[in-house]
Symmetry: C2
Subunit: 189 residues, 2 copies
């Protein structure tokens, strides 16, 4: 079994190395990326929007050139188990999502996904086997048109130096203080 | 020269593989991670908050066990070139930031960072050489106490199925619709 031209075992090794553990969501995420890539024209570049913070971003980062730091992967916090690959010029995209009808055919996956069984009562081996056997059978695809205005990079933004902390921050913001010194964001003291 | 026990050349190879190109910000980010790790007690686990979406998250993902998908790396959109490693139990943390005073000693880095020279007029080789030579000399450290309430995982949240799209979404949200079907987030049609 291959995931984006990678033997499944190789992909699973990469999961443990990068993500720290064998996460069921990352294997399903791999099947999602693979299914989308197979259904997209080969001669274009795509950006990706991920609808969840959990697991899926790592599947995308492991299997595509898109990462958080290079900006080709963006996360829109919706909390659905879904991702969209799209052409950033035209907005034409393909969205993959976990199909809650299809997943019913695989009780072990359904129970894990909907947290119907406490974690310590789950049979991990059976869960992974079922996920591998299900493959892309629990995923559906949808053609979408992405609003590229919300994902486009703002070009030419200047860099300012905060009058209080003396650190750099995006000069497009109003005032002469960064978000921490203006009190807009507080995460530490 | 070593970055987190990795020869600099090895780290630079990983940058190209994961990030798609040799980004100056990722090399500086590597020196930041290295400096923080050297100054933290060895026997604890740390979560990371990154203050920028650009480049830095990939340095953290390449050099630490923390990734976006496993939740140990979080991004707080402040836009400062900075990151904080912290103990998620106590909130004790160490923050590294690009020091806008120290960077002045390295004009090639200063010009690139503040976009003082148009990209096509920059001497990339000189920039990379200067960044390597500067190493951690352009970074400062700050002890901080992180507000762990904003980074703590919400445990036991149930998963709901949206009444409209039939997809799963966090059941902690009000109403019986996901953020897309309720109109709270619109990124595609």
């Amino acid at each position: 079994m291959q995931i984006c031209d990678l033997p499944l075992e190789e992909y699973e090794k990469k999961i443990v190395e990068f993500h720290g553990s064998m996460a069921p969501g990352l294997i399903i995420g791999g099947f999602m990326v693979d299914l989308i890539v197979k259904n997209l024209p080969k001669d274009r570049f795509y950006d990706v929007i991920c609808e969840s913070m959990k697991c899926l971003p790592d599947a995308i980062q492991l299997l595509t050139p898109c990462s958080i730091g290079n900006g080709w992967l963006k996360i829109v916090k919706i909390g659905r188990f879904a991702m969209t690959f799209f052409d950033k010029e035209t907005g034409d995209g393909l969205r993959a999502y976990l199909d809650t009808e299809k997943i019913k055919k695989y009780p072990a996956v359904n129970e894990w996904f909907f947290k119907l069984t406490p974690k310590h009562e789950q049979d991990a081996d059976k869960l992974f086997e079922t996920i591998r056997a299900a493959g892309a059978e629990i995923i559906s695809l949808q053609k979408v048109k992405v609003d590229t205005s919300i994902t486009r990079k703002k070009k030419g933004s200047k860099i300012a130096v905060c009058a209080k902390c003396n650190e750099s921050y995006p000069g497009t913001e109003s005032g002469n203080l960064c978000k921490v010194c203006s009190g807009a964001v507080i995460y530490y003291t």
